[in-house]
């Protein structure tokens, strides 16, 4: 299986389309960084809104940590498309080229085949996230410097000391990896039902868009089904950037307001990944391979 995994990785990184995602991320992040470098002050004023009528928030607000948070907030909605581009092609691409039957005639089980292919798609997803982390966090720190992070939420604002941030990003990126691997699992699952990759890519994106709309609209009917949608749990990485306060309203360094939410969402995403990969193996085992 390890050989198959290596072969799959080779195939992924040999295709030029794989690098579209890396190039697109580089372009998008650079554009955001450039925009914030030029007009960061105006953006901060916009973000602070009415708060600046009462309070004076001084310091380097538009710093690398803040920029990274903005980038993640904006991009983690778009990254699934780039992941679907590869993951949705894993089986359907083979079917399209007529190599699926040939591959499955090798002395490996269909489960091993599915696991190897999914692991290769996961490696691609993780590498893309590492690239995003490098550009969004480390390059932003290099350009904008560091300071405390000041984040506005719907009902309150949070200030986190600069020495209490890095581990939160580590946690957030781990969580984002889990969320993106879930997207890969959805695309991978759909991949086996088509004979070319366009269908699964479009289907994956459609699912994400529809689910995201359900997750973001606060309509009582939708609220009941929200907890069952993976898109609701994909944004739980933000919980790393909310702190608890003590009785004197002092924020507690190293704390997270809702760790239970992170654990719960992580477990739901893991369940999705395991479930979808298992279903992929189940359906592929039953499938009559004709291509």
């Amino acid at each position: 299986m390890y050989t198959l995994f290596k072969v799959e990785l080779y195939k992924i990184f040999k295709r030029p389309r794989t690098y579209i995602a890396f190039a697109a991320m580089t372009a998008l992040i650079t554009i955001i960084q450039l925009g914030l470098k030029v007009d960061g002050k105006e953006y901060i004023e916009f973000v602070l809104g009415d708060l600046s009528n009462t309070l004076q928030v001084d310091g380097k607000l538009c710093n690398g940590y803040f920029v990274c948070f903005c980038i993640l907030n904006l991009l983690l909605i778009h990254v699934p498309l780039l992941i679907a581009l590869i993951a949705a092609d894993m089986i359907s691409g083979e079917a399209n080229m007529g190599t699926l039957r040939l591959l499955l005639s090798k002395p490996i089980t269909r489960t091993q085949f599915v696991v190897a292919k999914f692991l290769a798609a996961t490696v691609y997803t993780l590498l893309l996230l590492v690239w995003i982390a490098f550009l969004a966090l480390f390059v932003s720190i290099f350009i904008f410097g560091t300071d405390d992070i000041f984040l506005v939420k719907n009902n309150y604002a949070v200030q986190i000391a600069s020495n209490d941030i890095m581990w939160r990003y580590l946690g957030a990126f781990f969580f984002a990896a889990l969320a993106m691997v879930t997207v890969a699992a959805v695309a991978f699952f759909l991949s086996q039902f088509a004979e070319n990759s366009i269908g699964p890519i479009v289907a994956t994106m459609s699912i994400i868009i529809v689910f995201t709309i359900f997750s973001t609209m606060s309509i009582p009917l939708f609220n009941k089904i929200k907890p069952f949608m993976f898109t609701t749990h994909m944004v739980a990485w933000k919980e790393f950037f909310d702190v608890r306060v003590n009785a004197d309203n002092e924020s507690i360094a190293g704390s997270i307001q809702r760790p239970d939410k992170i654990i719960n969402s992580a477990l739901i995403l893991i369940a999705h990944i395991v479930g979808l990969v298992s279903l992929s193996a189940y359906f592929l085992k039953k499938k009559d391979i004709l291509s």
């Binding site: 009415d50 600046s52 009462t54 309070l55 004076q56 506005v152 719907n154 604002a157 200030q159």
Partner: protein
């Protein structure tokens, strides 16, 4: 008729005497504060606003006569009431033309204080009215309540110990009014709002506080003018 005129004169005399007493007390407090030409103080700053979660920070407070004051956070972001902190006791007492009114006595933190109201005579003054609660025995301002034109109302409560002889507090609590906070979801991109209504209610209609606990003062050693630019 003679009795009425005598009573009126007596009342006028008493209020004039009270105003004179208030002026004398203000002069005593001013004299104490004027011993300090400048200082650099190190302090711990705690921002206590219901809808802000902020850590305690270390700040340096720079002061230079007559009323220049600057707060610089050693590292990180500082959250202060808009325009308010610059209104220190020196700037309040330094008002060029004001009328003093003796408003009786009150107890502040268990200490009997003299209540004096300061009304600026200048129509364009930023301060509309200030009420000072002065510890008469030690000539120390224990508390002040100020209403301004642009920056709302605020209160300062001072606690003295080590530098009481110079009128410098060891701790100062600055209270101010804050507006309710609500940020649109389109700005925060936080669509998952699962906060309970009672939790939201706790964050509203509260006064904000900034607490300075001074750990050291470096007094009259000179502070460069560039610090205040």
């Amino acid at each position: 008729m003679k009795k009425i005129i005598t009573a009126c004169l007596l009342l006028l005399n008493i209020s004039f005497a009270n105003a004179q007493n208030a002026d004398a007390l203000i002069k005593k407090v001013k004299a104490k504060l004027e011993q300090v030409n400048d200082y650099v103080a190190e302090a711990k700053m705690k921002t206590d606003v219901a809808f802000i979660k902020a850590p305690i920070g270390k700040v340096k407070v720079y002061y230079k006569k007559p009323n220049r004051l600057k707060i610089v956070k050693d590292k990180g972001i500082s959250i202060l009431p808009k325009g308010g902190i610059s209104m220190n006791t020196s700037s309040i007492l330094g008002m060029a033309n004001c009328t003093t009114i003796d408003a009786g006595e009150a107890v502040v933190s268990g200490i009997k204080t003299k209540v004096i109201k300061l009304l600026p005579t200048d129509d364009n003054s930023e301060i509309i009215i200030t009420t000072l609660y002065i510890d008469e025995a030690n000539s120390l301002i224990k508390k002040s309540a100020t209403t301004t034109r642009e920056n709302g109302s605020f209160e300062m409560e001072m606690f003295y110990n080590t530098y009481a002889n110079l009128g410098l507090p060891d701790k100062m609590i600055f209270s101010f009014n804050v507006k309710d906070y609500k940020m649109p979801k389109g700005v925060t991109l936080d669509f998952d709002d699962d906060m309970k209504p009672e939790e939201k209610a706790k964050l509203k209609h509260k006064k904000g506080k900034v607490e300075f606990t001074y750990t050291s003062y470096t007094i009259n050693k000179g502070v460069a003018d560039s610090m205040f630019k």
